[in-house]
């Protein structure tokens, strides 16, 4: 009886059940990691995630699987991660929506305390571009014209609360002028409207508009980074052309649920930074006009806090209602 095959099987099964606790000491990771991205395939978030994922998979020795969960400007993917167990097997790509959403929509999570911030991957400036027929040739001239004719200049955006929209709101807020906002559904239609001259002004994402500016179909007035972009050093920044301290970036960062064990976070940080230093990933990000940051977790958390405070102020001043 003691040695019957059934008993032996049961004993083995018991052993197998006990195994996970024994394996708890086994080095992380032991199974594939889910990498949540808050946008559908195709956008810059997806491109960055899919550039990093293979390198991370290689360094961690486990597959890192990109999982696109678009919707509500990253809020849906973010909620999903917050609800996941803090074991290092679910990570999230943060985007500017992370710091603007709290002032715009009701969220089911705390945008700071529910997260273990790992690293700020990189930043890319937006580009202030105008239709060639629009007179101002510089930021100074633009401000002068806007002061003379308040509310007369139409600017386009890719939708309420996007970085394209908020770049313009911050500009108006800091330089004390007023434009009229014309919202479009997404960056494509917004860009078309600018190219056709339906709107005069647009703060476009760098890779999309730089080509048009180089082809002479648009005129670039300034970049929104604090420093000039390495990809376009001839274009001045807004900050140096008369709106000191002005900075808006499209950025990408990596986070995990709060309470993820520190050892796992440290491992993720180390491997992500290595991935960012690989030439493959580097060239992918540079194509997007991005500067690689690879910050420490503390720097990243600090960046999130400051960014959130900044946008809360701008969104309130612009009179954009939360929903």
């Amino acid at each position: 009886m003691q040695n019957s095959p059934i008993m032996r099987f049961l004993a083995l099964a018991l052993l197998a059940c006990a195994a996970p606790s024994a394996l708890a000491q086994a080095p992380y990771p032991v199974k594939p990691i889910r990498f949540l991205v808050g946008f559908p395939p195709g956008g810059s978030n997806d491109i960055v995630a899919r550039a990093i994922a293979p390198k991370l998979s290689e360094y961690l020795g486990q597959q890192v699987v990109v999982d696109n969960r678009g919707g509500a400007n990253t809020a849906i993917a973010t909620q999903l991660m917050v609800n996941s167990p803090p074991d290092g097997y679910t990570i999230l790509m943060n985007a500017p929506g992370h710091t603007t959403n709290p002032a715009l929509i009701k969220l089911g999570f705390d945008s700071i305390n529910d997260f273990a911030f790992i690293t700020l991957l990189g930043k890319a400036p937006n580009l202030l571009v105008v239709h060639p027929s629009f007179p101002p040739k510089s930021v100074q001239e633009l401000i002068a014209l806007s002061k003379k004719r308040p509310g007369d200049v139409n600017y386009g955006s890719s939708g309420i609360g996007t970085s394209v929209h908020l770049s313009a709101e911050l500009f108006q807020y800091m330089s004390g002028i007023k434009w009229t906002h014309i919202a479009y559904r997404g960056g494509g239609p917004g860009l078309v409207a600018l190219l056709s001259g339906e709107v005069s002004l647009y703060f476009g994402n760098f890779p999309t508009v730089i080509r048009q500016a180089r082809a002479g179909r648009l005129r670039a007035l300034a970049a929104t980074g604090l420093k000039r972009s390495a990809a376009a050093p001839d274009i001045p920044t807004v900050a140096e052309s008369g709106v000191p301290g002005y900075e808006v970036s499209t950025w990408w960062g990596l986070s995990a649920p709060a309470k993820t064990p520190p050892a796992i976070l440290a491992r993720l940080h180390k491997e992500t930074v290595s991935a960012l230093n690989s030439p493959d990933v580097r060239s992918r990000l540079e194509e997007l006009g991005a500067e690689i940051i690879a910050s420490s977790p503390a720097q990243y958390a600090d960046f999130i806090r400051r960014d959130m405070a900044k946008w809360a102020k701008v969104i309130k001043a612009a009179g954009i209602k939360s929903r």
């Binding site: 395939p41 195709g42 678009g70 929509i105 014309i182 960056g187 190219l195 709107v199 080509r211």
Partner: protein, 495 residues
């Protein structure tokens, strides 16, 4: 003559073994995903996107393009066979294609769809080669006012689509409008009818609505009666279209191609709207409009031609202006950018092998698609012989997979089920789901552009009549209205 040289050069590029192989892989994959509902070209292209990093630019873009227009071919298959729109643009094909299948004419319907698509594909390709840059510039003339008038005209014309009871039709369009405005309002950023669900903030997806209304509702209605769903295979009459079919389908195909080519160039309207528009046009032009909705071959040929023509010409703004007019084109543009190619006015000069190679490959791809699809017709029709008790669980399964794969969100499945119930109620009330879908597509576009146009004009409504293109659409809308109303009143007076 230069065009001829360029085309010869393009064919030289496209006929290399490598490029041919990638073209074939692209269109074959496109057909496959087109057949599977919901698994759209966007998801597929995104998944294959990283592979293209390791390919040279020309084969990469040829393959991705093949997936996109290949999906337009495959999309009609399930629409015709089981009333399940495989692709956004093929929802219209459901209306008459499925009826043809029920009458045992699935073969001719499938073959017509493939041939009409081929014709449209050839014309679309030629248009890109001939007039790409000119058409691109033309698209830029469409501002908010023009779109508003265009949508208004389409909405007026949609009254033609409704069968029988005009009040019912109107009610359905309005219901569709309401479904369409769910989600964030573009102008104010406020969420409407989202009931606190973050999943509803971005609106209800087209796949969810179309699959729920057509496929799910149809299955529920079929299961209701025991002997229902006569096995169509029993009375299949020929696989290929007859001479009469071809005669009936010829002009609708030409008109569908023309209309589709125009819509394709306009950013933001796309294949879905073009197939609706041609369907309405054909119904208006038909000597006996009552045949529509009961298996008219024109109702298959025209929208299929339109959506494929639109799929080809949609490349024009992307290639010639560097404008990503849809998420799929944005992905193509990203693929080009990562290859270090700046799409835009210079691409024809800087990268002639890419531009002309792609154009030539599109024509080859369309040919491959016909060769691929025609022999499959027999196979697909055999599928109908599968007993319904086995067929319907698989259809439902595919509906679920398709809907889930759009945004990886289980919420969409519940929503699709609820819309399926709505669709079933409509079947019971003898209401056509097509006007609802049209309201859903047009409503938000009309509202958005109307408000935008007025915002830009600072509230001056004359803007719709002072811009020539807009004025033309407005006049057309009035004419359509008059043409529709006058005969109706005249007959009423006589009786």
């Amino acid at each position: 003559m230069e065009l001829f040289h360029n085309l010869v050069f393009g064919f030289g590029v496209a006929f290399s073994l490598q490029n041919l192989a990638y073209c074939f892989v692209g269109v074959a994959l496109g057909t496959l995903i087109g057949v599977l509902p919901g698994v759209g070209p966007l998801v597929t292209i995104a998944m294959l996107f990283p592979i293209t990093f390791h390919l040279p630019a020309v084969p990469a873009i040829i393959m991705l393009a093949g997936i996109f227009y290949g999906a337009q071919y495959g999309g009609s298959t399930t629409s015709i066979l089981v009333n399940l729109p495989g692709e956004t643009a093929s929802a219209v094909t459901c209306i008459d294609g499925y009826q043809m299948a029920r009458q045992g004419r699935a073969g001719p319907a499938l073959a017509t769809a493939a041939l009409a698509s081929f014709f449209a594909g050839c014309v679309g390709t030629l248009l890109i080669a001939l007039a790409g840059p000119t058409l691109g510039e033309w698209a830029l003339k469409f501002g908010a006012a023009e779109y508003t008038s265009l949508m208004l005209m389409a909405l007026v014309a949609s009254a033609v689509m409704t069968q029988g009871d005009a009040v019912k039709g109107l009610a359905l369009v309005v219901l569709g409008l309401l479904v369409g405005v769910v989600g964030v309002d573009v102008n104010s950023g406020m969420a409407r009818y989202s009931f606190g669900f973050p999943e509803l903030v971005d609106g209800i997806g087209f796949t969810v609505v179309a699959v729920g209304l057509f496929a799910v509702a149809e299955i529920v209605a079929n299961l209701e009666s025991r002997e229902a769903r006569e096995v169509y295979a029993g009375k299949v009459t020929g696989l290929m279209p007859t001479a009469r079919d071809i005669r009936d389908a010829a002009w609708p195909t030409v008109r569908g191609t023309a209309l589709g080519a125009c819509f394709g160039v306009l950013p933001g309207t796309g294949p879905a709207l073009s197939s609706f528009a041609t369907y309405m046009l054909e119904k208006k032009l038909a000597r006996d409009p009552s045949r529509f909705g009961r298996g008219a071959i024109e109702g298959v040929a025209a929208p299929e031609a339109a959506n494929n023509a639109a799929a080809q010409t949609a490349f024009i703004p992307m290639l010639t202006l560097g404008i990503p007019a849809s998420p799929i084109m944005a992905l193509m543009l990203a693929a080009l950018t990562l290859q270090g190619i700046a799409a835009g006015p210079q691409v024809m000069l800087d990268k002639p092998d890419l531009f002309w190679g792609l154009v030539a490959s599109m024509w080859i791809g369309n040919l491959l698609l016909v060769v691929l699809n025609l022999p499959l017709v027999g196979l697909w029709v055999k599928l109908l012989a599968v007993p319904y008790r086995w067929l319907f669980p698989s259809i439902i399964l595919f509906c679920c997979i398709g809907n889930y794969s759009v945004s990886n969100n289980p919420f969409d499945l519940y929503l699709c089920a609820i819309i399926g119930v709505l669709g079933y109620v409509l079947v019971k009330l003898e209401c056509e789901p097509a006007p609802l879908l049209l309201g859903y597509v047009l409503g938000p576009l009309l509202e958005e552009n109307l408000r935008r146009a007025l915002l830009i004009a600072r509230g001056d409504p004359t803007v719709f009549f002072t811009r020539p293109i807009s004025l033309a659409f407005m006049i057309a809308a009035v004419l359509i209205f008059v043409v529709m109303v006058v005969p109706a009143r005249a007959t009423r007076r006589r009786t």
